[in-house]
Symmetry: D2
Subunit: 142 residues, 4 copies
């Protein structure tokens, strides 16, 4: 299968809140996981396969791997641009992320998450993504 980078991607913005800051007056590193989920939700909405549709399709998709690379810090009131892109889907759903300063496009964080399908009925992990994901993506299974 021919991977087309950017074929399924989304972006949104968020505003750094006081409650996400640590004593260094920067966003605590663990809170970036929320930013990833915000833009992942926007991305999954574009393919009509977010949390509600996943459950309705008989699958949950837990995150099994997550990596974050912190390049710069974010501070109070800063407007952040959040980008997400599906980069793998055949056996697992891998999404890459880039968080930048919305004004300057300066890079702040790079990240990726990997999710696998678990069939709700059997609680078994799927070693190939279920047909519903291919349908939602509009591609043929390999």
């Amino acid at each position: 299968m021919n991977k087309s980078p950017g074929r399924w991607s989304a972006e949104t913005e968020t505003h750094v809140q006081f409650f996400d800051l640590d004593p260094m007056e920067i966003v605590w590193h663990g809170r970036y996981v929320k930013y990833l989920e915000i833009v992942r939700g926007v991305l999954l909405d574009t393919i009509d396969y977010n949390y509600v549709q996943m459950k309705a399709s008989g699958y949950i998709w837990p995150v099994i791997d997550m990596r974050l690379r912190y390049i710069a810090s974010a501070t109070f009131g800063q407007q952040l641009k959040l980008r997400a892109e599906i980069v793998e889907w055949e056996s697992r759903l891998k999404i890459d992320y880039l968080i930048t300063d919305a004004a300057s496009e300066r890079r702040i964080t790079r990240a990726s998450t990997t999710q696998v399908a678990i069939e709700i009925a059997t609680r078994e992990m799927c070693f190939v993504s279920p047909p519903v994901l291919f349908e939602k993506l509009g591609v043929a299974p390999s």
Copy 2:
């Protein structure tokens, strides 16, 4: 019914973590809600009616009212004593809380939460606490 203050009470301790601090280097005021839930869980375990038993009994008990009074701040590494006590139960479950510095007993926060039973089957709010709560408390319904 004769209310016996302290009849159902519990205490535990927690350690202030870095991720709960705000830029003032004190615990962000919203994170005290977690401390309340930690000691409420200990209290509800003592009457064998915590989240799991609530669901098994056919009821959920959402918080409908919460009040916090902040007296002093808590800082990194501080050991806190958390106390909770059931003060009402006949028509709703009201719990009072006191958070103190574990070493000095200096008061940090006072709080209360009020929960009501909702029957899972009907989604209806109960205007009198269901019999299971009285059984767990070992008291007769009024």
Copy 3:
């Protein structure tokens, strides 16, 4: 002084995220404190006296009292309207909040927070709000 309700008010919206849900699939009650802070930030920006300007003015304004009344629950993907209004300012800064469903205006949560000024230099609590607050509000001290 003649209190004009609504003279200083603000509103914004937020989208319920997966990470704010609890096992009941509704927003965990403690996370509403974040919603309060989001709209309080918008409100304080309108009078140019948010966190950064507070510190620059020589004062911090910790929350000393917070009350929340939960009327209905909020669920995944719901769009919420957040409103905040300054209702007291002379000796303390009291803000009332109303959170509603953005589409139906159905009430979800009512809340209030009270903050007092602490002078950074002396660490002393102010029993009357400092002149800077009256300047920012454009009113004369009483």
Copy 4:
């Protein structure tokens, strides 16, 4: 330099709280970052170089890289064992983590974090760990 695995390691336990659960009734994947920080704090206390001592030494140590591998899920009331071990220190501080079920030792999560020193005075990142870290670890700089 001869790396001695396990030379600097620590363990502690934590109890899964309701507020850390998601709608699947398991700990939301992002909240494991808190568990990492809890045991990292215990580990850094053993070498007397936790947040307070870091600042006093003139350095902050932001996390620049974090990886988590989720093996199994954790549920309400579960007791977790958290382990951390320093595995690199010469140019950066890398810590590996293992989270297991406290009773069965079943593996739940593996993770690592990498921190680098930034000199507070100059805001410059250190490409070699500052002497204070070697002193705290009781080893000679390479």
